[in-house]
Symmetry: C2
Subunit: 200 residues, 2 copies
């Protein structure tokens, strides 16, 4: 059985930790930042710029290439963006074709749909997401709960819009996933055991 697991996740829900632990438990690859590095290598663009495009926050308008300029088009930013996103598709497909793996985010559930990955969506209630963000120091420690709530919602709106744009589907809609898991009520250990059991 093919062991490719894609993880969509709400910010602060612990989706990345779930992904890492599942990969460890199954003894398969976990791909996250490696994808950005590989895209940067293939496109010869700076990794920081690749990250901004992939996370849909292109704040640097004229990217710095690490090698030669390979586009001479009038709108290089749009071209770079397209190139990065096409390369992201290729990198994700190449990685998944070469080995069993867990991939977090990046519309991997959609990109790899013909490989029939196990598609997880990890979520939680706001209270637990705020708690987790504080514990993991994922946000400024002086941020109020109210500000953190706004911040978490904003990140997820960005994810939803990115997902919708590239897949034409609704982010978080249960029909796009095989299992939706609430980290407010299941421990990471329980979740990992539960997902691993599917392959046994």
């Amino acid at each position: 059985m093919n062991r490719i697991i894609t993880i969509g996740r709400e910010f602060g829900s612990g989706g990345r930790e779930v992904g890492k632990r599942i990969a460890e438990g199954l003894g398969i690859a976990y791909y996250d930042k490696e994808i950005l590095s590989e895209i940067a290598k293939r496109t010869e663009l700076a990794e920081s710029y690749v990250r901004q495009v992939v996370e849909r926050r292109p704040i640097v308008y004229y990217p710095i290439t690490t090698g030669h300029t390979f586009y001479t088009n009038a709108d290089p930013t749009a071209q770079y963006t397209n190139s990065i996103l096409t390369e992201q598709n290729n990198v994700i497909r190449d990685l998944a074709s070469n080995s069993d793996c867990v991939i977090v985010g990046r519309c991997a559930d959609y990109i790899l749909r013909d490989l029939k990955p196990l598609r997880l969506f990890i979520y939680s209630d706001m209270e637990h997401k705020i708690k987790r963000c504080r514990e993991k120091a994922e946000v400024d420690e002086h941020m109020s709960d109210r500000a953190m709530r706004r911040y978490i919602k904003r990140i997820d709106r960005g994810r939803a819009s990115y997902y919708q744009h590239y897949t034409g589907r609704v982010w978080g809609d249960r029909l796009n996933y095989d299992l939706c898991i609430n980290t407010a009520s299941n421990s990471i250990k329980e979740i990992v055991s539960s997902v691993i059991a599917i392959y046994q």
Copy 2:
């Protein structure tokens, strides 16, 4: 660890089969029709009437009691309905207090919330639900796909409205569940193994 599992499910998704198999796998009780029989016994109303009230389709306006008449109120139907729903709460609480169990539907996730059950929501896409309904002969075999789609949607609208009415929550909203499981892509065997693994 408390082993009480509640199952919310879309019509045609196979939630009942999942529930039965999990109960068998864990060696715990499975409660479904037993709840109706117990309510009928406690209220002295006919089981068929109890079923109609519980499923929110009261087509018999003057219920036949199997024993003596115990309400003399001007609006006996409303009284009977209240009495049945109160008794349903009591029966579900009594059953869950006495033994580990799986309970399908009936807002059990809400009724038993202080016992921290594992709350599952079982769903599927329309194509698979229609296929399953045909296989299991849950609908008239001459019904067209279009009519079946309408029928499935109508049943689920009823469930959603019942759930909303008695819990004040949105039926199928992932935050009300610990695990949402798609039966279009997971086999029943995989689902059962996955849920059982949580208790190991």
